[in-house]
Symmetry: C2
């Protein structure tokens, strides 16, 4: 649907921008769903985004803004003066606002906080203080709450008052004067109850709740198990401090799955999506793992060397008679591991990227993006390959005492194999997706196995040139 | 929370069962949340579960039953006679009912369908017919819908009527006489609107909708992007046929992430959780991949053999002079791949299992379960190792023309390394979790790298015994 939106509406929006058709842009913001508007805006430049957003009334503007990705939001607020920034922040929902503020550098954040009313500021400070993996970090403080001793009729009247400042009014929490959580009632139950009934008679008293310090993954999991729209979060004294809603739970489940997928493929977790992450950060997040794995593989070569020398002696074969064979024997596992691991990383990142964008648009933007990603992956392969090769060259030459030519052969092979690995890890999942198949079939071991075969051929060919 | 429930309440429930305290059991069903009751019931035997469920009134009984895992539901309904089964099915929600029916063998399913009223039966037949990966397979037909020309007051009255048969009344879809989707309005908007307003004046007309045939992953993704509680599903003629709700979307995201994680670790997707899947199915789902990967690795040995012979001749070294070294050179990559791949599989399955149960209970049941899983993993390692070793033995002996002793050395090494791999893949994530660390750090390449080092030592030691 929205991808259709995007391809259909984006050119119209661009034309309206060119023609400065402000009324058209205002209409566009009003008619299209805010999430869809946000998605289209992300294709434009920062200043263009503000031109369009300014055509929407403030509440709608804020709603659209909240659907824009956090990374882009951070860039966008830099264009705002203090007055407009404080308007925006005051209307943003508590959890989105805190996410945005936590992206800002700490000094700048303090300046911004000064623009916000004191009560709200303390609320924000508290939310900012929770651990990143805790329930506190994903909850919102904008929940609907009522006392127990009022009637259903009064409750509905009060809910109408609370609605503009509540993330959801479908779940209502009953609290006492000390804000302790005493009960729960859903709007569905309120609608079905007689108007004169007191909430205390119909509320559920055994409310499932979590502490602010609970792991966010646990809260998300339990929300899913109970099919709840929201779960209440309490402090150490059982006072209600926030709610975690179903959409936050879905985000957490996605993020945790992404993090686990990356780790499984030996990529340190990224803050943003793969497409959005800058090259240098990716090099670091991948390189650190590859270097570590190469060190393990070099230990491996050391073990093989130890056995080769002892068994060579046992069998009466002069050690190092066939230097080419020895070279292959010692370093083939290292070469294979380098290519396989780099390939696994690429496959992992691409497969997860596809999983997070299940709709493939057949349009031109998608192809262009794929091309630039493939190119970037090649650069990454080259950089990682050179880094690993340098390590391997040094260790082979200085530690294992191989000749310069032999060490150079190892290094050249590693660069080649790593580039091949990243290319295979990128192109094969992409191809499968194009063919309408599940790209996830390109499992890490499969990529590794295919790269292994290539690694043998390349290592022998390169080594025989260098050594002879 | 619920884990606390489980450890606190399970012994009480067992005692009530022993003492036949039916009133106590009835109270337990009433007071505790149905999802928590279901979780405790799953610890008991099928007949005990029915003893307890029978103490709850039918609607509550059905609600608890729906929270029980599908696998267990299937076992439970086999204990029911036709009358009780039809009572149960008629009250179950449309999507849960279809899930249960689709688990039954087809002949039995037809018998069961005969017990259900004709209108419902056709509804079920249609839901059963949708592709497993489609929106149709996860939607429910129990949505709230209204015509556009009524007032808000009448709408609220009609919603009260529809509530018992609607999965949610928070989102209301506006349809015309031909059931075409014309608009959308949330209960929040209804509550805030003036009672005499007509729905047509306040409803949203640009409703985001998906076709029944759309991929379920796409629908789940979009529901999350828009932070919706539900999304409407239409047929080819734009008639409303169902809704997908937020809890279904969460399940889909979890299931897709699990499937991708398994594939990434070279395990064919499982229907149930890892703990629940029978041994033989796991052997098949893992074995098929390992065999395939071994065949690739054997091709690899063939390539090395080709190069070894040609370069050996070039360098004037008699081919096969040091048979031990040749053996290692040819088959070390195969041995390493077998151990690494089997280990990756185990690590993948355990890490994902932990991710799906973020709460670790420190109680005895958890330890006992871990012990039995570790034992099972050992048996799996043994079986997979023997299968791969048989293949490798045959190919080494018949294809590569190695001696019987050499082929036996390869086979013995493969069995040992595969068992070591599965043990490492099982125990290391478990250990990390015990230490309070993220088990996902034990990435596939890391497990493989560690198993590689062991593989070298074991191969050399075993081969030197067999060959000399």
């Amino acid at each position: 649907m929205q991808d259709a939106y995007q391809t259909l509406i984006l050119p119209d929006v661009q034309q309206m921008l060119e023609e400065e058709d402000l009324r058209g842009l205002s209409e566009f913001c009003k008619v299209v769903h805010p999430a869809a508007v946000a998605e289209i805006l992300e294709e434009l430049e920062d200043s263009q985004i503000w031109t369009i957003l300014d055509q929407a009334e403030l509440p709608l503007r804020v709603e659209i803004f909240e659907y824009i990705s956090l990374r882009r939001q951070t860039a966008l607020v830099e264009l705002l003066d203090s007055a407009r920034l404080s308007n925006l922040l005051e209307l943003m929902s508590a959890d989105d606002r805190v996410d945005l503020l936590s992206e800002m550098p700490e000094t700048h954040r303090e300046d911004v906080l000064r623009l916000i009313a004191k009560a709200e500021r303390n609320d924000i400070r508290r939310l900012l203080s929770y651990d990143e993996d805790s329930a506190g970090s994903i909850m919102t403080t904008e929940y609907a709450s009522l006392p127990a001793n009022i009637t259903v009729r009064d409750a509905l009247a009060q809910l109408r008052q609370q609605a503009p400042n509540s993330e959801t009014i479908y779940y209502v929490y009953i609290i006492n004067e000390a804000r302790k959580l005493e009960g729960f009632i859903s709007l569905r139950e309120l609608i079905l109850a007689k108007p004169e009934t007191r909430l205390s008679e119909i509320m559920q008293r055994d409310v499932i709740r979590f502490k602010v310090s609970e792991q966010r993954a646990v809260v998300a999991q339990e929300l899913g198990r109970y099919n709840f729209i929201a779960l209440p979060i309490v402090d150490e004294d059982d006072r209600l401090v926030g709610i975690v809603t179903h959409d936050d739970a879905l985000d957490v489940v996605q993020e945790e799955a992404t993090e686990d997928a990356y780790l499984q493929g030996a990529v340190a977790p990224l803050r943003d999506t793969y497409e959005e992450t800058p090259l240098l950060i990716i090099l670091w997040k991948r390189g650190i793992w590859l270097l570590f794995l190469s060190i393990v593989a070099l230990m491996n070569a050391h073990v093989i060397d130890h056995y080769r020398q002892s068994t060579g002696a046992n069998e009466g074969v002069p050690v190092g008679l066939s230097s080419l064979t020895t070279l292959i024997l010692l370093f083939l596992p290292l070469v294979m591991a380098s290519g396989g691991n780099a390939g696994s990383q690429s496959a992992t990142l691409f497969i997860r990227m596809f999983a997070l964008q299940p709709t493939e648009t057949k349009g031109g933007t998608d192809n262009a993006m794929n091309r630039s990603l493939i190119l970037r992956e090649f650069v990454i392969g080259l950089c990682l390959g050179v880094a690993l090769a340098s390590l391997d060259f040094g260790v082979a030459w200085l530690w294992f005492g191989r000749t310069f030519a032999e060490s150079a052969a190892i290094a050249t092979t590693v660069v080649t194999v790593v580039i091949l690995g990243t290319s295979a890890g990128t192109l094969l999942p992409l191809m499968l997706r194009r063919l309408g198949m599940d790209p996830a079939i390109m499992s890490n071991p499969l990529i590794a196995a295919m790269v292994d075969v290539l690694a043998v051929v390349i290592f022998y060919e390169i080594a025989s040139v260098f050594v002879s």
